[in-house]
């Protein structure tokens, strides 16, 4: 599938060693893993309590009100959808481009996608307040004789996110099937083996199976590629289709897609660095992989920085006093701190990856990637909150801040994401066995690989 067999930068290992190294990640969890898992449970508990309090008391316990009707819940929705972009980019786009370094990292990136989108999907439910009527958004024949408004970007968003989650989950599962089979065959007899036997669908790696698998995999990648571009474009249209100053602009779709890829790559780097260390798979996920991701992160950071600059230019060039006012307000007004955190973390600090020493240092990579994640959360905050705070009429202006309930739900979302991710890493292979083997030279008689 990868077409990278024999690339020395990926290392050279016998097939059996690949099975052993990757499947050893599924062993009994250690104390640190258990402690982190318990901490994630605690965060989820805080988030769940906060949401339950919001449901019981009413949406008024959140800071959203007039004029800022979209606050942290929509910020978190866009943030988590963005995080979910790197997985499909790495697994589908880099697959079609035959990029050799994707093989060892795409599984973790895909898992990050699925769990980030699953986390994002909670926020529309939280944001509507009355979660028990959320099914009104879904188009189905109903006793109310009502249909959703398909001209609304919010309805497009529902379709885009649910399609993205479904297609990414199918793609993820299909990629997992040969590896579940490998885990099944190495497992000791017992319940776990039986579950893996069921989940592997009876995969045997026969030539008929591989033929259709390869045919289907390239089609999934082909379908997922336009999808990954469309999802954040549609999310951006939630804003761009309105006439709110700072939102009503055609640059939003490519700007959001670039930002999503930037944040997704940053999150994957943050996940991979501790993962390779904790599971002792540094020989499979090498500095070459991390450095390649850092280079891609640098490129997307330049695109995002360019988009920031173009927004200011277009505001000036538009001749619209409202548009110009919001772009003066953002760097100098009530949310100036959030604005400058965004610029520093997303457009300035990643430039340090031009220096080889930074992008080949684990600490350098981790710190820059973590700061990009912080910056991307503030980017969404800056776009959503500052525009709504400062619309056309001065008497409607107002400020917004997160309440403790919103903070609780935000930390709960991080707990939920990492809980799912950690759970996955102990249940199924976090690195693709079949694809890593494929990227190695096949065992040959004239010389062992």
């Amino acid at each position: 599938m990868s077409g990278a067999a024999g690339d020395d930068r990926l290392g050279r290992f016998p097939y059996a060693e690949i099975d052993r190294a990757i499947l050893s990640t599924l062993g009994r969890p250690g104390k640190i893993y258990t402690a982190i898992l318990a901490f994630c449970f605690l965060l989820v508990g805080i988030g769940a309590f906060s949401w339950a309090y919001l449901i019981a008391t009413g949406i008024g316990v959140a800071g959203v009100s007039n004029p800022v009707g979209w606050g942290s819940f929509i910020v978190n929705l866009v943030f988590w959808i963005g995080i979910g972009h790197a997985g499909t980019l790495i697994s589908a786009v880099l697959f079609l481009l035959r990029v050799p370094w994707r093989t060892a990292i795409f599984r973790a990136a895909e898992a990050s996608t699925i769990f980030a989108v699953a986390t994002a999907g909670l926020f529309p439910l939280i944001h509507v307040g009355r979660v028990w009527v959320v099914h009104y958004m879904i188009p189905y024949p109903n006793g109310r004789e009502l249909w959703p408004n398909f001209r609304s970007p919010l309805e497009w968003d529902l379709l885009a996110i649910s399609t993205y989650l479904t297609v990414s989950a199918i793609f993820f599962f299909v990629g997992l099937v040969p590896d579940i089979a490998a885990a099944r065959d190495r497992a000791a007899p017992g319940l776990r083996k039986e579950i893996l036997k069921f989940a592997s669908l009876g995969w045997m790696g026969s030539q008929g199976q591989w033929k259709h698998y390869l045919g289907a995999y390239v089609l999934f990648a082909g379908l997922a590629t336009p999808l990954v571009v469309s999802v954040h474009s549609v999310v951006s249209w939630d804003f761009a289709m309105s006439v709110v100053p700072g939102w009503h602009t055609t640059i939003f779709a490519p700007y959001f897609v670039a930002g999503a890829i930037l944040s997704g790559l940053a999150m994957v780097i943050c996940i991979l660095i501790p993962l390779r260390r904790a599971f002792r798979v540094e020989h499979l996920i090498r500095m070459y992989h991390l450095e390649s991701m850092a280079k891609l992160l640098l490129v997307t950071s330049l695109v995002v920085g360019y988009a920031y600059a173009v927004e200011f230019f277009i505001a000036w060039y538009s001749g619209s006093p409202y548009e110009q006012a919001i772009f003066v307000y953002r760097p100098t007004g009530d949310y100036a701190v959030q604005f400058w955190i965004m610029v520093a973390c997303n457009a300035v600090i990643p430039l340090s990856f031009f220096v080889e020493k930074v992008r080949t240092s684990l600490w350098g990579l981790f710190i820059v990637a973590a700061l990009v994640n912080v910056g991307m959360w503030f980017e969404r905050y800056n776009i959503i909150v500052s525009s709504l705070s400062h619309e056309f009429m001065p008497h409607t202006w107002g400020l917004y801040d997160l309440t403790i309930v919103e903070w609780g739900i935000l930390v709960g979302s991080f707990g939920w994401f990492f809980l799912l991710l950690l759970g996955f890493f102990k249940v199924l292979p976090a690195i693709s066995i079949a694809e890593v083997k494929e990227s190695m030279p096949e065992p040959r008689r004239e010389g062992e690989s």
């Binding site: 599938m1 497009w156 065959d185 045997m204 030539q207 199976q209």
Partner: protein
């Protein structure tokens, strides 16, 4: 009448287990040249050389993908157009029926149905889930670092097939009689 899997169960055959990929490829070539039926081969990772010898051509899954995608596009546009006409109300000054916003609906459902049909095609053509797992020629090491070659034999060519497998470096040659999984 016996169904295909019942026929497979009662077929005579030999299973060769190989350590080296090139030995497997050479053995398949030799078997095909000498007219011995190559029933199947098991590899831990897709092998383009083995595919070229045994399963040339493209997978028909793509036809299902195309059909699914077209159905999704048509279904998405039809749903949006039809449901807008149920209540003929002008909202926000926008036309009740307009193709441009509905293309987003059509696009998303094209991808959704296309991917669903591809998954269905993969299951159908690969005969998954394989409820009779494991097939009698399958061995657990085939998902690790060994390659399996299943030659269908008759009483007349069994010795020739065995010597072919051994000559090409099979680690073991196992007889597959009638019955079994």
């Amino acid at each position: 009448m016996r169904l295909p899997w019942q026929r497979a169960r009662s077929e005579r055959g030999l299973l060769g287990v190989f350590e080296h990929h090139d030995a497997l490829v050479e053995c398949i070539e030799a078997a095909l040249e000498s007219g011995i039926e190559v029933r199947d081969a098991y590899t831990p990772t897709p092998s383009h050389e083995v595919q070229r010898l045994m399963k040339p051509g493209k997978s028909p899954v793509r036809f299902l993908t195309f059909a699914g995608g077209i159905s999704g596009l048509a279904g998405g546009l039809a749903l949006a157009l039809w449901s807008s006409g149920v209540w003929d109300l002008v909202v926000a000054g926008k036309p009740v029926m307009h193709v441009i916003p509905f293309m987003v609906v059509g696009f998303e459902l094209t991808i959704l149905f296309g991917a669903g049909a591809t998954f269905l095609g993969l299951l159908v053509f690969s005969r998954l889930p394989w409820v009779w797992f494991p097939a009698r020629a399958y061995r657990e090491e085939f998902s690790n670092d060994r390659f399996g070659l299943w030659l269908a034999t008759t009483r007349g060519n069994e010795d020739e097939a065995r010597s072919l497998l051994e000559r090409h470096g099979a680690l073991s040659v196992e007889e597959l009689g009638g019955g079994g999984g």
